[in-house]
Every structure is written in structure tokens, then in C-alpha cells.
Symmetry: D3
Subunit: 162 residues, 6 copies
């Protein structure tokens, strides 16, 4: 069984993330979407909220497991018997950083591959940060995030979410 793992902070999940997740899920037997907990960066949404939004947005994808993880991605990937890490690429800055991570991970475990998919052109400008900025300033985020989580995000920002 080919298991791939798709890590991220998903703070919150965007339409761009969802597009990558769908396409990746279609190319492997099982896709693990791994919500990263980083002791150094404080996320806007809690790990549980981020996991819950991912679950709502991906209900119709069957070969998916959504998990929360901390520590080194490569250790977690090995533990889950994943053969590949899958990432979406948008622009050059992404590329540089992701190249470094891929090479580092290759050194830590040569048997685990890193696979890159191009972000859908319609979401090439999209990031979780942009979504948070818009939501915090009452800008419209419709279409930029999965419909299923639109209300969750608005509610959070409505509650003095800034």
C-alpha cells in the first residue's frame, strides 16, 4: 500500500490546500494529512480546530486520515509507513524553502521521497496568512476557503479573533 503524507499548518485550510489534498489522494492508496504543532509558532486556530476544519472539508474523500503531529516530520512519516511526503508549490520562495527541507529530509531518511505538485493556478496567490488578513479586516474569503469551513472562520474572527 502506497501511503503518502501531506504536512502543513493549515491555519486555516484554504481552497489551495484542498485542491492539493484531493489531487494527492487520487494518486496514492492512502493520504495522511498531518497538522503540524510547532512549539515555537503560535497558530491562530488550535490544532483541534484546524483538524476539525480539514475533516469537514474532506468528508467526501475516502482514503484520507487527518492527524495532529509534533516533532520531526520524517520520524512521523516513518512511523506511519509513508513512502512519500507531498507538498504543493506556488512560487520561487516556496521552492527554495521546500528544496532545503526535501534535501534535509532525504538525508535523514533516504527511503522517503518528497513529491511536489503545482498549486492550481487559481490559488497561486493564496495562503493561510492572506485568508487571516482578509477575515480580520472583514474582507470576503468566499471561494478562498472550502465552503464547509467558511462559517467557522468567520465566527472565530467575529469573536474578537484578531
Amino acid at each position: 500500500m502506497r501511503t503518502w503524507i501531506c504536512p502543513g499548518s493549515f491555519d486555516p485550510v484554504t481552497s489551495g490546500h484542498l485542491d492539493i489534498i484531493k489531487r494527492a489522494a487520487g494518486m496514492c492508496d492512502k493520504l495522511i494529512v498531518a497538522v503540524g504543532v510547532n512549539y515555537k509558532k503560535k497558530p491562530f486556530f488550535s490544532a483541534e480546530e484546524r483538524k476539525s476544519m480539514l475533516e469537514k472539508a474532506t468528508e467526501d474523500i475516502s482514503n484520507l486520515e487527518i492527524v495532529i503531529f509534533s516533532g520531526l516530520l520524517i520520524d512521523y512519516a516513518r512511523e506511519k509507513h509513508a513512502v512519500a511526503i507531498v507538498k504543493g508549490l506556488r512560487a520561487v520562495s516556496d521552492f527554495e524553502y521546500e528544496l532545503q527541507m526535501a534535501l534535509l529530509n532525504k538525508r535523514l531518511d533516504e527511503s522517503i521521497e518528497t513529491i511536489f505538485l503545482m498549486t492550481n493556478i487559481n490559488y497561486s496567490f493564496l495562503s493561510s496568512r492572506a485568508v487571516r488578513e482578509l477575515a480580520a479586516n472583514s474582507g470576503s474569503i468566499e471561494g478562498l476557503v472550502p465552503d464547509e469551513v467558511l462559517e467557522d472562520i468567520k465566527r472565530k474572527f467575529g469573536k474578537g479573533g484578531k
Copy 2:
């Protein structure tokens, strides 16, 4: 009337900013220089200080309005009937980021254009951050900022501005 808007944090205004402002003002009927207030980033100079320095540096440009704004740039641009956002470009990292912002703003309001001007070659290495670093370490900033604001900046750093 063609109104353009030139947003930035101008913390503080540099000779590079001034060059872009002058050139942009020469290409439209009215240029709004918009000093951004971002609730998440604490600037070194207050919004009022930044606006005041811009005013001193641009006294001889007639078709200019200098304002302080918060919230989404695209909303503010629409409110001011600006037809274009104008930005200076220096290097690739600028370009990547500005490309994302331009595409996002285009999605938020298709009628407002983003225009890029190349930073003057003599200021291609210059940033507000570099000015602050130099001033904080008693380095010379002459020529790197408009003459009119040189003393203001030195005074701020002299007062334990670090």
C-alpha cells in the same frame, strides 16, 4: 481624474521611496501616499511621525495627498476612487511577494490595477530596515533618506531609540 495610490509602511521614508513617489506623481493626476497601520507589526516610528516625515520630504510635489490607513488596502483604494496601486520593485523577493499581493488584490477588485516601477539603481540595496540598522549603530544615513528628515531620524535614535 486618474488617482493612483502608493501604500507602504515608510518606517522611515527612504530616498528610494521618495524616488518612486516623485516618478509616480508625474504619471498620474493625483497620488495618494498611504501610510499603513498594521495591528500586528509594531513600527519604529508612529504613524503620525511617518506621515509627518513624508510631508516634509514631498513639500514640492503638488498633486500629492498623504494619509494614514488601516484595514484592507483594496477597500481603502476603492473608497478613494484610486484606479491603480503603485509599488516600487527592487529584487526577486520583492517581486514574489508583490506578485501575490497584486493577484490577491485583483481578485478582490478587478477594476483596480497594480502598477510596478523599478527602484532607482542607486537605491536598489536600500530599505527602511537598513536605515534603522545604520541609525541605531551610529552609521551614516546621509543620502539614504531625504535631507528633510535626516535630523528627525537621528533625534529619534539619539533618544535611546533602539
Copy 3:
């Protein structure tokens, strides 16, 4: 009167070119679209064919002049009293090259500005070369070039255009 000049080889004009031309024309009083003749690069379409296709594609834009030019762009811009050169930007490689040209042109004539517009996201992958490749291999170019020139391009390639 603010005259801008939009140079290119337009070999052939694409939907991306047309988008930039329309947006640029909306921002100045007169836009000159200048089809470059370069003694060193042999184009696929003749200068006259390229000009004719541009004319068909831009019939509904009133403040437009389409011309053929050779020699230095900056000389031609000066001769036509253009205050700015306008270019579309797609990706980093574009940016690097265009930055060099803009700086060179600035040195040759400081009074003429170079203005960059971001290519529409839907055409960010599009180039005249890609269109020629597709057409030469019987791929569909519908939507990638203005409808008005679709037949012209197909006919050229049909006639053993390779």
C-alpha cells in the same frame, strides 16, 4: 497627453498580450503597440502579419496605434513622445530580464519610465512560443489567442507552417 508604448514581438499576439494591452490602454491617453523587427531573430509571422493580427484583435480599443519599429526602443519611444514603456510580467525570469532592460533604458533616457503590469493569472503560463508549439502539433489554441486571429494562425500552420 500621456502616451505609453507597449513593445513586443507578438509572434503571434496571445490572449495574455491582449489583456495587458487593454489594461494599459485604459490607464493612459494613447497606447502605441510597437511590433519589433529584430534583424537577428527570424520571426515565424512577418511583421506585417503580426501587425495585422494585432489590429484585428484590438478593433474595439480606440486610443491605440499599432506600429512596426526597428532599432532601439528608447529612440523610437522618444520620437513618438511616449512618457512610459509598459510591459507585462509573468515570472521571475521575465522579471530579471525586464529589470535589466528597464535599467538600461533609464540610463539611455532618464525621462522615460518603464511600467510593469502583472500578467492575468489565467495567462501566466502563456507565451507566443507555447502557442506556436501547440499550433505546430495540432494542439488546441482556442482561448489562448484572441478569437479574431484564431483562423489566421491555424491557416499559417496548416500551410506547412512549421
Copy 4:
């Protein structure tokens, strides 16, 4: 069955190509290595020579088919029922170009994915062109190309291959 296709000119196959081919073959059910024939670029090795060298270098990989193709890659991929195009990425220039191709191919057939793998760090500087330059100037290419084709390449250049 998941069929992937790995296109290239392989003029000649390098150790970097071979590394990508091995890793890609390990991630799908069948990998088609497609040697491109481009009517516009004259290769140094003939399509048959390039295919033959690939065959020698990949004898121990079982789920591989090596083919020669011309025309549009996306048409060929569809014909072979490939679900993905797989490419190696080295540097930013690669990335820019490959991004454009991936987006163009996505538009031509949305059902076919483009997958990127990072080139092995030890071959990040390696290209077919570099191999040809070295071989043409009697430089050592050992380790830069698969051992199985070393003699073929030397022989070609020895015969006044320049």
C-alpha cells in the same frame, strides 16, 4: 494501474536522470521514459542512440518502458493512459520553466497531473549539456553518466563527435 511518464531529451542520459527514473519507477506501477524528438532542436545523439543508452542503463528496472515520441507530450501521455508526468527539478530556472509547462499541460488536460521530484544533491549541477562539454574537451565524465553508457559516449566524441 498507475502509469507515470517521464519525458526528456536525454542527450545523453546522465546519472541525475537515472536517479530520477529509479525513484519514479519505485512510486508507480509502470514508468514510461519518453525520449522526445523535437523537429526544431538538433540533438547530439540520435533518438535511437538515446533510447538505446537508456535501455542499457535501466536494465535492472522491471516496470519500465522506454519509447521515442514526437508531438505534444500531453497527447502522448493521454494515449498511453498515463495519470502523471514526472520531472526532476534542479534549480530556480528549471522551476520557472517547468511551472509554465505544468500549467499549460494542466490546461490542455486537467486529468493528467505533473509531479516533481528533487534532483539528488550530488547531481544538482549536472546536465546533458555539461556532459557533452566535458566529453568534447576530453574531461572525465565518470560518475556523471551511468557506467553502462560511458563507452558509448566516449566513442561518439572520439569519432570527431564535436
Copy 5:
């Protein structure tokens, strides 16, 4: 006497740093390795710890002086009669930033050169930050840092170093 200066935060020194230091030391008469103290960034290791680790790792290089400095690098370089600043380059992001710094320093003192060396290919993915991440998560850092400082780093992280 040709004195070069190699600045950095070395938080902690990596195998990539050591490689650049060795190569730079071999190309000048005296190399000053300057551990920067930046009042704005809190390092993980103290300046003294960073200096001490550099000393252990470079014991066999004779023409080396390791110092702690604060303030402007260019002022310090001048004070030490250095004729050049030497830096390792890894990727494009490095390059952009380093280009800006080099141009700024050139403007501050035209007589002091900036020299760039390419990072060894085996360390092209390596950074102090990556080392800290690995160590904080009990990942192996062997080979990524000089053997002489391996225990120092592990001990620091063992002591609740996070």
C-alpha cells in the same frame, strides 16, 4: 597582509560554516571569524558559547582569529583592517539578501570588498536553524555539525534547551 573577515551568528556553527571557514582561511593571510551580537535577535546559544564552539571546531587552522562583535560589520571590518568580507552562498534567497548587504556595505566603505564562496554541495540544505530543530526533536545532527561540538549542542538541548 590580506585580512578577510567572515561574519555570522553561528548559532551554532555547522559543518557548512566550517567548510567555508577552512576554504576562506586558505585564500587569505588572516581570517577573522566574527560572531555577531544583535540586540534584536535573541540567539539560542550565548555569544561566548558560540565563540567557544567555533574555537573547538577550528583548532587546526592557524591563521584564524575568532571574535565577538556588535554594531555595524563594516565599522568592525575597518577597525580590524580587513580588506574583504567573505560569505558562503547557498540558494537564491541567500543571494538576494547578501546582494543587498554587499551593495550597502560597498556604499558605506568602497575600499572593503565582499567575496562569496559557494557552499559545499553536501551542506547546501544545512542551516543553524535546521540543526536546532533537529536537536530539539532528538533528531540526529551527526555530520551536520563539527564533531568537536556535537556533545556541547546535545547537552544544551538535553537541559530543557527548547
Copy 6:
């Protein structure tokens, strides 16, 4: 004795080249400027013309040798006992290509270093190709090439040099 080698096609030498040569000569004991002869690219000026122009432009630099070379640079560098190859860097595209060459050369001979200097900001847009374009179109090249070779270049283009 520290010998450095500065390779290029110098077709023709520009003010940017001269700036790099002067600065490099000041940092080593002997600088070899090596005019490359490439059997695959036809230069505009002959190797002898290019060497002769370099000689005129560098008459006041004493520790310089100007040579014509063909074949592999690394072989030639070794033959001349050079310890380093020195190159000027302008922009990202330069950087990518030069990085590949540096890594390839490092693999061919680990004992020879590649050193990069930043191109003077005033020449950051300058290339031999730009000079040829300007001269071919009767544009002014004053200041873009060393004064000593201005007439040589004009004469060549005047003689139907296109």
C-alpha cells in the same frame, strides 16, 4: 603566489568587466584574464580583437596577464597554477548558472575555488550583448565600455559590423 583566473568571452569588454578585473587584481598576487574560445558560439569580435581591447583597457594594472584559451576552464586553471576562478555576479539568472558551473568545477578539481564578486551597482544592467545591441543601432555606449576601446567598437560596427 596566489594566482586567480577571471574567465569570460569579453565580446567586447564592458565597464562592468573592467571593474571586476580591477577589484580582483587588487585581491590576489596575479590575475589571469582568460578570453574563452568556444567552438560552438561565434563571437562578434575575434579572440585577438577581444584580447587586444582588454590589453588597452587594463594597461595600468601591473599584476595582470591576458590570455586566449579553449577547452575546459578547469584544465587551463590547473595548468596556470591558479588557486581560484573569479567571476562577477549580477542577477539571479547569473547566479543560477554560475552556481552550476562552480559546483561542476569543484567536482572536477576540488583544490580550485570559485570566488564571486558583486558587480558594481552602476553596471548591474550591463552586458556585452547590450553593448553590441546599442552599437549596432547607433546608440551611445560611452561610459558602458572602457574609454580606451570606445573607438575600436564603433569602428567595427561602422564597417557594416552588424
